[in-house]
Every structure is written in C-alpha cells, then in structure tokens.
C-alpha cells in the first residue's frame, strides 16, 4: 500500500520525470562524447539487460511472483533469432520475424507454465520454473541438429546492425520504449490489480478478481519482453550457445532487480547498469588477485544482505527517504496525495 503511494508521489511528480528525461538525453548524447568501442558495447549490454530485468520486475516487483526460470524466455528469444538468421538470409525482415517468433513462443510457454503452476503456492512456482528452465538447458544441449549444442554457432546479421553506434541507439530506444510501455502497463487498472495481488492475494481474490487469470497475464507480459531482450542480446554477440538458458541469466535478473529496487522499473535499469559495470570492472581485476575471478561471491553476499536488510533496493530506499523527508516538511501535500491515490 505504502509503496504504491510513494510511487505515485514520485513517478507522477514532475521532478522524477525531469530526472528521467535528463538521463535519456545524456545517454543519447553520450556516444558523441565518448565512442570507445568497449564502452559502447558495455552500454548496449546494459540496455539489453535493463529490458530483461524490467520484465522480471513485472513478476517479482509488481505481482510478487518469484520465478527462477526467467532465462528460458531469454533463451527462446535468443535461439529464435539465432536460428532464423542462420537458416535464412540475414535481412532486417527476417530479424523482425525472428523477434515475433520468439515472442509468440514465449507467450505460449509462459501461458502453459503459468497454467500448470501459478495456482499453487509461491514455492511451487519458483521450483517449477527452475526445473523447466533446467529442462530447456538440457534440451538445447541435446538437440544438436537445431542448436549445435554447447558449442553454439555464429551467424551473420543484417548489415544495418553491424555498426556499434546503431546498435547502441537501437537498444537504448528499445529500453526507453519498454520502460514507457511497462510503466503505462503497471499504472493501468490491470497493473493495479497485479499490485493488489502482491500486497494481499486472499483479499484481492475475495474482492472478486480471478487472481490466477491476472497472474498468468503478468507472466505472459514478462515472458514476451524477456524474449525480445534475448533476441537483441544474440544480435549484438552474433553468436548463440546454451549459456542463454543457464541459471546465471536468471540470477542476473534477480540481482539487478533486487539491488536496484523491486517494483520500480527504474530500479531494474539502475541495477542492470551497476551489475554490468561491476562485472566488467571485477573481471578486469582478476589479473590483480584471483579472488576477483569469483566475483559472483561478492554479488551473492551483497544479494543476501540486500534481501535481509535492504529489501527495497537502491531506488526503493531513496524513495522512502525522500518520502519521509517530504512527509515531515509538507505533511499536507502528502495527505492530499493520499486522498488522490
């Protein structure tokens, strides 16, 4: 409840919008200031994972569903694009077709998985999605005629996407569009029902909402967007192998949303930036000391501490701090917001 109000207070306010626009303008101009190849690649990666993490946030942050199999949707998008671009001519229409194919497959899969397991307790969904994504990983490894197994394959991409700068702008654009669409989605009546489910599922059900129906919608939306991010991911790599189905992919999304702040969307973007930067930086440090090769440990510990002591993440904590400060200074305004919200 409280979180919803905070969000309305901030994201609805012009101050937050100014920050978003400033950030977007900065990112749009950035490549003209610094066009180092590695930085462009890093940023492209961040944008793609931000899209992926935002899709995860719809589940974890807005509906309160814990999925440990989000990698399967990412992988489906990745393999749809990889296989179609490899088997047919690498043209833009084929690429777009591959994105659509991935989205359709992801929608069907998330529907089936959701139908099977969302009516059960949250434990089951987490466990079943974990098992399902494990199945996909094994299937991708065994079905060699289609996926060429663990070695994966490289493929040609449409010429338009060969320029790093173009990719940067396309992925940035994608991230902004997904952010706006999902923001609209979460603020729609449907999104409000999802948040009600997160806050109190039995009460939502007793108000007459068919909870499973809404949960399945949330998982389809999340799955479809995750598939798009998978497609973009392999487009930038021009290579796909079974690692797109690995648990690590899901873990990345989890870390990004939890550390950035669940239920905020912006948190997912900030988390994606932080994790990808830190990954880049810590891998570089591996030459200094071997412990940095195991950088996942730091994230694992950080993640545990975040879940325990810092469950709102960076954005959530900043927001609640902002809210409190505002609350003490301008109590009347907050009350007005409460009535309005």
């Amino acid at each position: 409840m409280q979180r919803g109000e905070e969000m309305k207070l901030l994201t609805g306010s012009s101050k937050a919008n100014i920050i978003y626009i400033a950030a977007a303008v900065f990112l749009l101009c950035y490549p003209f200031i610094n066009d180092t190849r590695s930085i462009l690649i890093l940023f492209t990666q961040i944008f793609i994972f931000a899209v992926f993490a935002m899709s995860y946030d719809i589940l974890l942050g807005f509906t309160g569903i814990v999925s440990f199999g989000h990698a399967m949707f990412f992988g489906i998008g990745a393999y749809s694009t990889g296989i179609l671009l490899d088997r047919f001519e690498p043209t833009v229409p084929i690429f777009l077709l591959s994105i659509i194919v991935g989205m359709i497959l992801a929608a069907i899969l998330s529907y089936v998985v959701g139908l099977l397991s969302l009516r059960l307790k949250s434990h089951f969904y987490a466990m079943l999605t974990l098992a399902f994504s494990g199945l996909f990983l094994v299937a991708a490894e065994k079905w060699r005629s289609l996926t060429r197994g663990n070695d994966g394959f490289t493929f040609r991409i449409p010429d338009v996407f060969k320029d790093r700068m173009t990719l940067y702008f396309i992925t940035l654009f994608l991230m902004i569009v997904v952010f706006l669409v999902l923001k609209r989605f979460t603020e729609s009546p449907l999104g409000r029902v999802l948040q009600a489910i997160r806050e109190n599922e039995p009460r939502t059900e007793s108000l007459g909402y068919n909870v499973i129906h809404y949960k399945i919608i949330a998982s389809i939306v999340a799955g479809v967007i995750a598939s798009v991010s998978g497609s973009m991911y392999v487009l930038t790599l021009r290579f796909v192998n079974t690692s797109v189905f690995a648990l690590d992919v899901t873990l990345d999304a989890l870390l990004m949303t939890i550390i950035g702040g669940v239920g905020t969307l912006v948190g997912a973007i900030i988390g994606a930036g932080l994790i990808e930067f830190a990954h880049h930086w810590l891998t570089g440090l591996a030459k200094v000391h071997w412990i940095f090769e195991r950088w996942m440990i730091f994230f694992g510990i950080l993640y545990i501490l975040a879940v325990m002591f810092f469950p709102m993440g960076i954005v959530g904590t900043v927001k609640s701090w902002f809210y409190k400060r505002k609350g003490t200074n301008k109590t009347k305004d907050v009350d007005k917001e409460k009535i309005a919200g």
Binding site: L60, G64, V66, F68, L116, S117, R119, L120, K121, S122, H123, F124, A126, M127, L128, L130, A131, F132, G134, L135, V138, A139, K142, W143, L247, L251, L254, I258, I291, R294, M296, I297, F299, G300, I301, Y303, I304, V307, M308, P311
Partner: protein
Amino acid sequence: MEAIINLTINGLATGMLVFLLAAGLTLIFGLMDVLNFAHGGLFAWGAYAGVWSYGQTGSFVAGIITALITGLILGLLMEKFIVTPVYGNHVQQILITLGVMIVLSEMLKVVWGPNQLSAKTPEYLSGSWEFGGVILIKYRLFIIFIGFLVFFLIYYILKNTKIGLIVRAGVINKEMVQSLGINIKRIFMLVFMVGAAMAALGGVLLGPYSGQIYAEMGMEFAILAFIVVVIGGMGSITGSLFAAILVGLSGSFMAYYVPELSLAVNMLLMAVVLIFRPQGLFGAKG
C-alpha cells in the same frame, strides 16, 4: 534381462541419492514451511568435503563422517543466520536461500578450485558380484543399502520416539506444539541440521559413484529433488522415497532406451501429478 537388472540397480542407486536430498527438503518444508533452495549447495559441499577428506586420510568412512559434520555445521549456520531472520516471509525466504546457493557454490570453487575432483571407490566396495551372468556392482548396492537404512532410521525416529512425535505434531500444527511448552525453534534447528547432513551424505556417496564431482552437480541434483518432492508430496518421507525411486528408475531406463527424453519424462511425470493431484501422491495438504 541383464540389462534390465542393471538398469534397475542403477536407477535405484540414483533414486537413493536423490532421496537423501529430497528427504531433507521435504521434512524442512513440512515442519518449517521453508523451501530450501540452497539444499543442492549443501549436497555439493558434502561431496567436496567428504571426497577431500577421503583423499587425505585414505579412509572412506572418515570421508562420510567429514561430510556429515560439514552438513551439520552448514545447516546450523544457515538456520541461525539466514533462515530464522526471514522466517514467515515466503518471498524473502525463497530469494535468500537461492542467494545462499550462489555463495555456497562459489565458495566451493574458492576452497577447492574450479576444476572437478575425482573420487575412487574404496577397495572393499569396488568390484562386483556375479550371479548366473548378472553382474551386480557392489558400490551401487551399497548406496541402495544406505538409502534404505536412512529411510528406515528416519521412519523409526518419526514413529517411535518422543522427538519424532514432536516433529510430526509440528508438521500438523506448530503453534499448538509451542503452546504445549515445547521449544519448537530448537526442533526446527535440529531438523534443518539433520536435513543438511542427509544432503551432504548424498553428496559424498555420489563421489565414487560417478567418479568425479563438480560444483554444478549441486543444482542438477537439487532440480531432481524438487521434482521428487512435488511428485511425492511436500512433507511426506514415504512419498519422497517412492517418488525418488520412480524418478531414478525412469531416468535410468529412459537414458538407456530413449536418451533424449530422460529429463523430459520426469518433467512430464511432474506435470501430470500437478494437474491431477497438486498436493503430490502422498501429500496430505495442498
């Protein structure tokens, strides 16, 4: 015929290893309502600690004891510092135990290096018996024996001792048990430790069975154990045993006849159980 007997024994042995994992999971879930996603990590730690100590001392029994102690200690630490603070919040529990899984498997690589360790079968358990053309590998029979031993031990404790009575009562209604003046927190800790030790035992037994151990096997076996817990029913030891044998057998037969489908069959089994009997074959509540 030979093939069938061999596959049956293989399947039983794998099933028993999965049972050791699943039994802990299901007991902890039944009593504490905690689904421990780090259980596979405990399994892998048991395997590494056990195989390492076996390599150092040359005694397999020492390896098993080391694994059990590792499991007990890790279980104690986890229960005290990780699970208790977030008790009652399901989403936090699920998230945090997965975090522990990451840390456990990364720590494993820090302590023993990222490469796999190889494990030999102790001499008195290697080799095989031959009965009329059928070869029975001793070590696999040993695993099956240990698995049944653990099952009957737990079964006996649950049915015939005071502590077992408390645990069973706790599964049904923990508030009532607490109001009768029993410190249920202590029982939680005990069950968690025993569950962790069983997982570690499963890990060390796997060492000589598969010949080598690696950090990722924790997750692989944990997924099988989750499937088993779903099929058998949360909180039911007998259900876990039957489901583990079922999963083990179907895995070994499918791997021989239709290798492509071996994991898919388990998933299919689970899907069918979920559709028609969501509480599991032996589960009491949904």
